[in-house]
């Protein structure tokens, strides 16, 4: 009998059956991949396990004993620890305070010693082979990737027997993703139970020994990893065949320049960037993590001040705020969708028109008819799956939320699209839809600047690639034949693409 069993778990939310007789099991030393589309029930299963949701039915058994999980704290006390897809760090607190939040051993004095906590933090960095950060630094000053690493460290620090990694690699660079995989292997050797959720099949294949596939709220397959074919897995996840993962590459690049950056500098993060983006072009932005890619996008959307010139249609523009950028026909799909992309507590309808309120105005008042037209047009264009336009965005699955972000930013009818990691934490089926959308917009002559943490995606989607290093454009690869993962790394190290 397996050491850990979740049996016949059911969980309903108003209007949705998120889990329907779902099962899961694992033995000590297993690394089990949990696969499924967004909305298949993976996250709900994890939330049930971690005490965030109470199941309507079902049983959780660990080493022959039925677990009673009342809330998140009781889950952690029973050695169930998770790294969540959505970050759970407190931005205003320091690294050390976040790591020990709620779980600091105070002893009799009931006092927290900052010094002791910071020392323990340094030890943790060493123990897990990380470059040490200042434990007294506020978390809000960290990059997204650093925050994700910290999130992982926080879970590791709680020393669970059952460890869950929900999309933990989606914000990490390749280097840190490899670091995490080494740690996970080490945990498995220590006979812990690992549940690993990721949308990157190559990663799962490298790491996991078993795979359980979820579809429509229940488990549909349980296989040994080496016996599972990629196509088979994708078919199981979707319940239907899908063709090639990436759409066929075509070039829609025109002669005319859509936007040009001349000697753009911003703080220490962007230095002397020169860049030409043409109409219909899909220009990828590559390089190691944190080399100024994020700042490049922020500067182009008026979110950080810059020196130098940005030229659109032959005219020098001043991008002092997102409002200016939208007026100039620029749209940004931002990095953190729940914090920057959509208002989770508002409806799909309210979100979709939020960036384009001027388009639904009749003089003084908003026109319900115009609003309805734009909302239904955009919901169709991006195949947003929801009961109605009045559904709150916060209740949608991650992939559908991302579609609403795209719908909202593209409702402004932009000419220049800045897409920052649009497939982060999105399932295979939705990814494919998104690549098709990118291609469609390029074919309509829109200029697209495309960043992804997944180099594979850059290689398969973009017509040209710029590689960034230390805030500068280290090089540009235009020849279709030369766009490969190896060349992107070569260029970032200052060599030529071959």
């Amino acid at each position: 009998m397996p050491d850990f069993i979740m049996k016949n778990i059911c969980k309903s939310f108003p209007g949705v059956k998120a889990l329907d007789q779902a099962n899961f099991h694992a033995s000590r030393g297993d690394i089990v991949a949990l696969l499924g589309e967004n909305g298949a029930g993976k996250s709900t299963l994890i939330k049930v396990l971690c005490g965030e949701h109470k199941p309507d039915e079902g049983e959780i058994i660990f080493e022959g004993k039925t677990l009673k999980i009342q809330n998140t704290r009781s889950a952690i006390e029973q050695k169930i620890c998770a790294v969540y897809q959505e970050l759970s760090l407190v931005p205003e607190l320091t690294i050390a305070q976040n790591l020990f939040l709620g779980f600091y051993e105070t002893g009799k004095t009931r006092m927290v010693s900052e010094k002791d906590m910071e020392q323990k933090t340094r030890d943790l960095f060493v123990e897990y082979g990380l470059e040490p950060l200042d434990p007294g630094m506020q978390v809000k000053k960290l990059s997204l990737a650093q925050k994700q690493v910290l999130e992982i460290l926080k879970a590791l620090n709680r020393e669970g027997e059952i460890m869950i990694f929900d999309e933990a690699t989606s914000a990490l660079s390749e280097k840190y993703a490899n670091w995490l995989m080494d740690i996970i292997r080490r945990l498995a050797e220590e006979k812990k139970i690992i549940i690993f959720i990721s949308h990157r099949l190559d990663e799962i294949r490298k790491l996991c020994n078993r795979v359980i596939v979820f579809r429509a709220g229940t488990d549909v397959a349980d296989m040994k990893m080496e016996e599972a074919e990629n196509d088979e897995l994708v078919r199981l996840m979707l319940g239907r065949e899908i063709g090639g993962y990436y759409p066929k590459k075509e070039v829609f690049t025109k002669e005319e320049t859509a936007i040009e950056m001349r000697n753009v500098t911003s703080g220490h993060k962007l230095t002397d960037v020169n860049l030409v983006l043409r109409k219909g072009e899909i220009l990828g932005v590559g390089g190691l993590a944190g080399q100024g890619q994020s700042e490049l996008f922020l500067a182009l959307f008026g979110l950080i001040p810059y020196k130098g010139e940005i030229v659109i249609n032959g005219k020098t523009v001043s991008l002092g705020s997102p409002r200016d950028a939208i007026k100039e026909g620029i749209a940004l799909i931002p990095e953190e969708r729940g914090l920057q992309g959509v208002v989770l507590a508002q409806s799909i309808r309210e979100n979709i028109v939020l960036s384009s309120l001027n388009r639904i105005k009749n003089h003084l008042f908003l026109s319900e008819e115009k609003e309805r037209r734009i909302v239904s047009e955009m919901m169709d264009a991006f195949a947003v799956k929801a009961e109605s336009p009045e559904t709150l965005v916060g209740t949608l699955s991650g992939g559908n939320q991302q579609k609403v972000v795209l719908a909202k930013q593209l409702a402004t009818n932009p000419d220049i699209l800045l897409m920052f990691d649009i497939t982060r934490g999105v399932d295979v089926g939705t990814k494919k839809e998104m690549f098709n959308v990118v291609k469609k917009y390029a074919s309509e002559g829109k200029a697209i600047l495309f960043f992804s943490t997944d180099t594979e995606e850059l290689v398969n989607v973009c017509n040209s690639i710029i590689v960034m290093n230390h805030g500068r454009v280290a090089g540009r690869i235009d020849d279709e034949e030369l766009i490969t993962r190896e060349n992107i790394i070569r260029v970032s190290m200052g060599e030529k693409a071959v």
């Binding site: 705020s321 920057q340 992309g341 959509v342 309120l357 908003l366």
Partner: protein, 316 residues
């Protein structure tokens, strides 16, 4: 099904009105005179003043802020309208616009400091309230105001077609507020900012300007309420707006607008204004000592705010 959806969406609103009605029915049984036509008119006039102050307060609270300077904006408006140019009917042609421009300006100063200089709303508006108080005391040298003009007395105390003038005015401003909140761009921006100002900024909304103007509106409605209050009372005195500060905030909270910002409806604040007036009426009718009345009033209002807040939480 459809009716059910509508009920759910407006649950907070419906509960606010039910609460007001229930209170009213209960006291009417106990004190039959309470439900007489004349007394209802008095209650409506009281509510109108609270309700008008609550318009701007609702806007500000939807952004996640609060306006604690309405007390002395009201006093300033009331004192000025009875004293400028002798306080007669003719003087009002210029004194009323002047007063409103002034209170809007004070509101905009609040808003500018909160939005652009990142002052916490509680500190900023409380500071403004004290400055206004000091300023008014300095200028008037502590002397009370004067009598309201005939026209103001008509607006504040008389009725038109059987309905008090104050209700007509309140109704007009309620319609305007609802249009602004739910039919115009400004309202959408207000709600988006209250929920998540980062997303609002990324969506191209001029977040600072929208916040600044919400305080400007609050200045406008406080000024208007002060002018009308002078008419209702028949004269003006220092500190006559003090009670309205808490009442306007409580009306918004009882009406189901979240004190955290991001959701709400002015129609709820209207119900909240009625609830508070009825409550004060009940406490007065019970013949309790003044101190006990005050305490009971504070406790009951806090209790209903708590209940409203729990309802908001559950319906989310």
């Amino acid at each position: 099904m459809k009716g059910n959806v509508i009920f759910k969406k407006h649950q907070n609103l419906i509960f606010s009105y039910l609460a007001a009605l229930l209170l009213f029915a209960a006291i009417s049984v106990y004190k039959p005179g309470f439900a007489s036509v004349n007394h209802i008119k008095v209650l409506a006039q009281e509510s109108a003043i609270i309700g008008i102050v609550a318009i701007g307060q609702t806007f500000v609270i939807i952004t996640g802020g609060i306006d604690l300077s309405v007390a002395w904006m009201i006093s300033i408006a009331a004192i000025m309208v009875t004293r400028l140019g002798g306080g007669g009917n003719e003087a009002m042609i210029w004194s009323v616009p002047l007063i409103l421009v002034m209170t809007v300006f004070f509101g905009l100063v609040n808003g500018a400091c909160i939005a652009y200089l990142r002052m916490p709303p509680i500190v900023m508006t409380l500071g403004m309230n004290i400055i206004l108080q000091g300023g008014l005391v300095a200028v008037t040298q502590g002397a009370p105001g004067s009598y309201a003009s005939d026209l103001l007395v008509v607006l504040g105390q008389k009725a038109f077609l059987g309905i008090p003038w104050l209700l007509w005015i309140w109704g007009l401003f309620t319609v305007l507020a609802m249009l602004l909140l739910f039919r115009m761009k400004y309202g959408r921006e207000l709600f988006a900012i209250g929920n998540n100002s980062v997303v609002a900024n990324y969506s191209g909304i001029n977040v600072n300007a929208v916040i600044m103007w919400s305080y400007g509106f609050s200045g406008l409605t406080a000024g208007l309420a002060g002018i009308l209050l002078a008419g209702k009372v028949g004269s003006s005195y220092l500190g006559m707006g003090d009670a309205l500060q808490f009442q306007s905030i409580a009306a918004v909270a009882i009406g189901g607008t979240s004190m955290m910002g991001g959701s709400g409806n002015y129609l709820g604040s209207v119900a909240g204004a009625f609830t508070i007036t009825i409550l004060l009426g009940i406490l007065a009718a019970l013949n309790l000592p003044y101190g006990v009345q005050k305490m009971a009033y504070g406790l009951i209002v806090l209790g209903s705010v708590l209940m409203a807040a729990r309802k908001i939480k559950n319906s989310r």
